[in-house]
Symmetry: C2
Subunit: 248 residues, 2 copies
């Protein structure tokens, strides 16, 4: 945790009292003492600093803080993703990573090569996946949760849902091994909104690729190496951000 | 596994007989039948295709193949890393990921903020870490193992070892939150060899940053978000590759 995230209702006239895993973290991991300061942020709100004014170091842990939140959280980045539902262990990791990277919107869709059993995961429930998003925000010092939307049917997602959001994007890109273009030739010279689709293990089937193209997606590749989906998400995010930085 | 890796000695006049986890993978995960082809590669050697000519589908699994290896593996990428030793669970993941990304050299060093207990891991033994590198090669369809070197003492690594390899690199870069430069302004317009150093959780201490600068490293940042080291490695690798691609 590089920031202690709290609900707005937990701060009253600058005072915060913690008695859960966050108190344990401040005491056992950060090894803070009275008088130390920690970074705090209000979920969906501002970021600031709070000083520890009271501390119960033995179980049950308790930490009392006084602070102010004045700074805006970092802005979200302009790269959103569409992912075929990955296996749960990988989805957990992706949720934390995209929250840390500053992704604003993540769409998780079914696909022909998604194993049906993957949909049995509790991770598609908001109370469960939120925990992993919070880990990412705590890592990256952010307070604003990404929007995660699960789409259990591919065709309605492509034909009914996508057209309602596609106008937001200057570029819609399909990571497709074997295509010839790289990102550098597809992206413009400005920091524009991009939606990137990444397939399941084994890739999209031809029918799915066809629907992406019908909706205006352009193929790109990142070389001949086949990456796992979590590696691909983080790597492609970095590639796009570097191109935008480079032309700023 | 997107390629079945074998030792050179396992192929005789084009014939390969597998009876270990690779046979189980071909039968249970890839669900291959007699007559199907799979991609094969000789460790440190060439890549080709082999046809399944015999199959024992029940335990103990056995697969007989006949094939040829004729193609060179993909070239390694020009980005090497120096990492402060991360916690073992993270190191495992990083080893697979850097093998998949085509990293050629990885140096893992001690640092002030590395927990001493991390050095007790069996992952610093070649027989143990090799397994994770092979997972990465199997994922990315490569046959050539990255070089992994562990350095248990920071100062000798910086002052004695680094000068013996630094001439290989056009750029030596230190990921340092709070520095002002981005990668786009530091890297040249060509695909040049780059060495990137990434610190432990909590960062390098000032003394360590000083030694990096003495050895010719330049600071860069990738924005204000603090990433976990595995996310940072994959993201920074992507950023550098995108800049090189963009100017090709």
């Amino acid at each position: 945790m590089n920031i202690i995230l709290i609900e707005g209702s937990e701060m009253r006239e600058g005072k915060i009292t913690l008695s859960d895993h966050r108190a344990a973290h401040i005491i056992k991991i950060l090894k803070c003492a009275e008088g130390d300061s920690v970074k705090v942020g209000i979920l969906h709100g501002k970021i600031g600093t709070a000083q520890i004014v009271g501390l119960q170091k033995k179980f049950p842990f308790k930490v009392e803080l006084i602070g102010r939140v004045e700074s805006a959280p970092p802005p979200k980045e302009p790269v959103d993703f569409v992912l075929a539902l990955p296996r749960p262990i990988m989805l957990r990791r992706i949720l934390s990573q995209i929250a840390a990277l500053g992704v604003e919107n993540l769409h998780i869709v079914n696909a022909n090569r998604v194993e049906k059993s993957f949909w049995n995961t509790s991770l598609i429930e908001k109370e469960v996946f939120t925990e992993h998003l919070i880990h990412g925000l705590e890592q990256a010092v952010d307070t604003v949760m990404p929007n995660i939307v699960f789409h259990t049917r591919f065709k309605p997602f492509m034909e009914d849902y996508l057209p309602t959001v596609s106008a937001r994007y200057t570029h819609m890109l399909l990571a497709h091994p074997g295509s010839t273009g790289g990102l550098g030739t597809l992206l413009g010279r400005n920091r524009e909104r991009v939606l990137v689709a990444i397939g399941p293990e084994g890739g999209w089937v031809d029918y799915e690729v066809g629907l992406f193209r019908n909706q205006g997606f352009s193929d790109f590749n990142i070389g001949c190496r086949i990456l796992k989906v979590d590696t691909a998400v983080v790597n492609i995010h970095g590639r796009i951000m570097a191109l935008f930085e480079n032309v700023a």
